[in-house]
């Protein structure tokens, strides 16, 4: 998440800005842990359907790897587009 949105809070005293920055850092930590949990859930749900063994077979492991890598790239692209929209930039058609 970009920090631009806090532009309107520029007139806060220095001390409060620091509190705000700390708050943003904390939200980002929580957010990244949640994203991690969601990624695991999604790739597990999409890739693992057989429970005849207790270890992932080669095919499941490959599927999970690709799913996770794809999700991360997806997530970065979304982040890019999202911040462009936040700044009112035009988007490719």
């Amino acid at each position: 998440m970009d920090k631009n949105m806090l532009g309107d809070l520029d007139n806060l005293p220095e001390e409060d800005k620091m509190k705000m920055a700390a708050m943003i850092d904390q939200l980002q930590i929580r957010d990244s842990l949640r994203m991690y949990n969601s990624l695991v859930e999604r790739c597990f749900t999409d890739c693992v359907d057989s429970f005849r063994r207790k270890t992932l077979d080669k095919q499941e492991e490959t599927c999970v790897r690709r799913c996770a890598e794809k999700f991360l790239k997806h997530s970065m692209r979304v982040g890019l587009r999202f911040s462009e929209l936040n700044q009112g930039a035009p988007t490719p058609d």
Binding site: D8, L9, R66, F71, F82, L85
Partner: protein
């Protein structure tokens, strides 16, 4: 939210609280958007880990349309969508 329409007597604590809620709202919006567009755009066969051209342009349009829906719903609710 944020500064517009805020009564002058709103205390510093309340400003911080509103800013925090706004951040949380935006993080949640981003997460829901990411999940929803992944569901709509990603090919579930996972034949490769790269995003192909079709997926890339689907993502761009999905984000753009999701954004429009956010604004449209914000208008209907009679508030600005929480300032973005």
């Amino acid at each position: 939210m944020a500064n517009n329409g805020v009564q002058p007597e709103m205390g510093k604590e309340q400003i911080m609280f509103m800013a925090e809620k706004e951040m949380e709202y935006r993080v949640e919006l981003f997460n829901k958007l990411t999940q929803t567009c992944f569901r709509k755009c990603a090919e579930k066969s996972y034949k490769e880990s790269e995003l192909n051209m079709a997926e890339n342009s689907c993502i761009d349009r999905c984000v753009s349309k999701y954004w429009q829906v956010t604004n449209l719903v914000g208008q209907l609710l009679g508030t600005n969508p929480p300032s973005m």
